[in-house]
Symmetry: C2
Subunit: 219 residues, 2 copies
């Protein structure tokens, strides 16, 4: 067995450095078009990222969506019904979006038409964390049935995010998860993380979440 | 920007080739100790992999567990209560187990004492798929609240697995997911995949799952 470790680390460092440079270019592009807020939604498969977009987009003036998916356009098809600009990135198997994927598609996106841009990352609580897309805020989406211990077990994304959306609150009486314990677990990892409790099913907390997203955006 | 793509692909290919060689060595080690079945459990964070182990281990004669976690020993602590051999691999941030991580710890594991070895991978429906650990079977664990479309959106693991455990069936009346549609989605991706519907909460389907795991093991 040949030990490639040093070469691997060197390549990995260069990949991340390149990503940072491209993220900076993306950020300049967003700012140049005076977009008020760019949000990178990160969560496990099935945490409810697409449902969340369906709930909040109609309550925001001039929003747009970039959908990241490994293999299908299903989420993009769902959010197309919202009649806002939508663009889909198929990662062809890759486990996260990176700044280069964004840089490739941004010229085709009607940036001047949007105030708020939502980027739905690939369903994965681990890998997307390290790849800045030039967003203003990472938003971690966690659904109640995933359990009380996710922040402790996947701390990086809870540290990197500005906001945590605690989704599927309607399942609280059924899934045996203690919301107070769960939030305590999150605060142990990141005491400064804002937490919004919502249910896309019942609509609970959606208004407050929309208000929070506006607060996080530039005026 | 320097384009490292060819070098990256070369390194990636070598990593996977090395992994395959080490997986083969691990497999020889399992077989040398006459282990009947080695199962690699893969699923999203919160799909219920640890709860599943808590349900099935007491019903199998001489089982053992290797726990893969990014940051904590919480799962290992939970399954220690089962009084079977348990070993924990902390991946230090890595998004999947690989054959080398297993090769490093297997000498410390009492392989002669187990008939069935369960490896709980890092919670991630994407990255663990490509890394063979020398297991006999990959088992994909999907929980009902994750939604109907996960096989279409994350097809690789559904193609690579021998068995799909459909977990948290007790939430069916509450989470608005149609189990028939979900199974159809799975069969579209892999018509040969065995599916066991279970609830660790109610115990539904656990006996049948244990029976299936025994069938998949060498006699």
């Amino acid at each position: 067995m040949v030990d490639d470790a040093p070469k691997r680390i060197e390549i990995q460092d260069r990949i991340l450095k390149e990503n940072e440079e491209l993220a900076e270019e993306n950020k300049n592009l967003y700012r140049g078009h005076d977009i008020k807020g760019v949000f990178n939604l990160i969560g496990s498969p099935g945490a409810g990222k697409t449902s969340l977009l369906e709930s909040i987009i109609p309550r925001l003036e001039k929003a747009g969506i970039i959908e990241g998916d490994i293999a299908t356009a299903r989420d993009a098809e769902r959010v197309h019904a919202l009649s806002v600009p939508v663009l889909q990135i198929n990662t062809m198997g890759a486990c996260h979006l990176d700044a280069n994927m964004l840089a490739q598609v941004l010229p085709d996106f009607p940036l001047p038409e949007v105030n708020y841009l939502f980027i739905e990352n690939v369903g994965n609580l681990v890998c997307p964390t390290g790849y800045d897309l030039g967003e203003d805020h990472k938003v971690v989406v966690l659904s109640l049935p995933e359990g009380e211990d996710k922040a402790a077990k996947y701390p990086a994304i809870f540290r990197a995010s500005t906001l945590c959306v605690l989704n599927k609150l309607d399942l609280e009486p059924h899934c045996g998860v203690d919301v107070e314990l769960l939030e305590e677990d999150i605060r142990d990892v990141n005491p400064d993380l804002d937490i919004c409790r919502v249910s896309c099913e019942s609509g609970q907390g959606i208004d407050e979440l929309v208000e929070k997203l506006k607060q996080l955006s530039r005026r």
